[in-house]
Symmetry: C2
Subunit: 352 residues, 2 copies
């Protein structure tokens, strides 16, 4: 421990992202990336952007905000953009939660408790029900600001819009953040609720459905006042968070609607086939509206399966944490990748 560290450092316990292996080529089903690359349209954007690379980007990223606002039919001042949705969420914690107490599920995106410790936020964990759905009754009873991931990570479980609206309506003085990182794989976004609820902020990302994990673009949508708060925090932290290339490429990706529909449908179809194959292997699989599935085998230890798969060139995600330490989170790849995954998994299950 360095004598120069602030008090904050003693307490924090950083987030550990899924492995980005460098040792060999794996079938990567561990970080919920999109198996399909973006279209060549992004190349045109890169060509344009690199010409002015010596100049700072627009600190407002106004063109990107306009594109997102147009796409979702909301106002331009209802959009905030950042360097990945992780950064957007960090700014949310600073802008809305610092020195307050909030609530989120015990099993959800594991970055939330990390932000909380770093940014001076207390939190209450609300346990998921036994079937890993959100315990909506307890959310309704609580007065604390909420974060909900919908569909939830790492479970894939989905909450219907009327339930979200009920939470918003019954506690209008409570802010609720809905993290929709995985919404494009079969869920319905609650963006249309923005106009009636000033206590709703939605966070999305281009890393999953838009195939741009390598580029780092996330965004938030909500009432103008909430967006103003995020802008104030961002402009007190880093004036230029989304670079010239990322901005232009993200705009192209938003425009590629046919391709977006095509690949998200493909991934959903592959997900359903994967669930069927896993169930044939006796796994129980939580119903998923995300680009991953969360599954356990009744007889085989999840951590052992994780290692056995890794040895055979397949990376999935394993969380050694209470309640979920017998589950594997498996990102949905291409049909070919999933066929190989199921084949190797079948072999592993036959062993011993």
């Amino acid at each position: 421990m360095s004598r120069f560290f602030s008090k904050i450092i003693t307490d924090i316990d950083p987030y550990v992202p899924g492995e980005q292996p460098k040792d060999k080529k794996y079938i990567k089903l561990n970080t919920n990336e999109n198996p399909y690359p973006p279209t060549d349209n992004i190349y045109r954007a890169i060509e344009e952007a690199k010409r002015d690379i010596r100049l700072y980007p627009d600190p407002e990223n106004q063109n990107l905000k306009n594109e997102i606002a147009g796409y979702y039919q909301i106002e331009e001042n209802q959009v905030f953009v950042g360097n990945g949705s992780d950064e957007v969420l960090a700014f949310c914690f600073l802008a809305f939660f610092s020195e307050k107490k909030i609530a989120f599920a015990d099993i959800t995106y594991s970055f939330y408790p990390v932000y909380a410790k770093l940014l001076n936020v207390e939190y209450e964990s609300i346990p998921l029900c036994d079937d890993f759905t959100l315990d909506l009754k307890r959310y309704r009873e609580s007065d604390l600001p909420l974060i909900i991931v919908n569909p939830n990570a790492p479970t894939g479980a989905y909450v219907e819009i009327p339930e979200i609206e009920r939470l918003l309506r019954e506690k209008r003085d409570r802010l609720m953040i809905v993290d929709e990182a995985y919404i494009d794989f079969g869920g319905e976004t609650c963006i249309p609720l923005i106009k009636n609820y000033d206590n709703l902020l939605i966070v999305q990302t281009m890393s999953k459905s838009r195939s741009l994990a390598g580029l780092r673009v996330g965004f938030a949508m909500g009432n103008k006042e909430l967006i103003d708060g995020l802008n104030k925090v961002k402009n007190s932290f880093n004036s230029y968070t989304v670079d010239r290339i990322a901005e232009k490429v993200a705009i192209e990706a938003m425009k590629d609607e046919d391709y977006f529909n095509e690949i998200t449908k493909k991934i959903m179809d592959t997900r359903e086939r994967t669930i069927e194959a896993l169930e044939n292997l006796k796994f129980s699989v939580i119903p998923s509206k995300a680009n991953f599935v969360f599954a356990r085998h009744p007889l085989r230890d999840a951590e052992e399966l994780f290692h056995a798969l890794k040895e055979r060139g397949i990376l999935v995600r394993y969380f050694k944490r209470p309640r979920i330490d017998q589950y594997l989170r498996i990102s949905i790849g291409t049909d070919e990748e999933m066929a190989i995954f199921i084949e190797r998994l079948t072999t592993i299950l036959k062993e011993e």
Copy 2:
């Protein structure tokens, strides 16, 4: 003021970056960008990076760290990288200064007081001497952690290495951050001091001398323990701050040493010619080791000159702040741009 804001928001007063105008084409001498674009080598990097854009970047950005470490002949674990040096500085405030009191000059990079308010840091302003050099005696007397910009912004004034070493040596339990954003334009970096002083952290950027303002890459160098602290904070805020394209392009830019030497020399030569031309127009100019000059006219109001230049298509930076409200900060452009600047300025001075 939204009922959902954290206490932090009431207090903060965001940084305002220099204008990135959208209304018309200006000669931009207002944000210290490099007038020369990077070489075509960066295009090769972009080609490579875009192939894997659907995958997350390496969260450690190890290849970029290795490149920087090799360039400056330090260890790989003595390098931290981030999304522009502004983000790196924000992480420094969190990692080392939160809930503490620090000191920096009254006239220096105006983002420091903004970070301080956002991230719960008290600060003491140490006034520059009348000639706008650092008041080194007062820095030596203080026990507070320090941030020094060298050369200073927006003045361009430079502190010699032995003075910096003296500060480090006399107070070994005080952390000192040296922000070397402008060091490559004629100053000498204090990177070699890292091996003897664990109380030194240096911050640099690719936005100025490496022509990559549009891409957002900054870095810090120091003792491994300090770098570990920055990594802990970064990994509690955003796992992937430098994207795939930015990382590869930054690596190419570090490799372009001949070009780097050529353009930094060109900019220094243009700076000296600009200073001469300004002095011929009766300006007093602070001796500068940066890619900008800070100048005042004995008879003409700086704010009026700023507006008159803007009307004539030239943007410079004006700060309406005590002690410097009669100065203009003028970034060094190409010889052609500076010739036009001097010509239009001459016209303006003849008017009235």
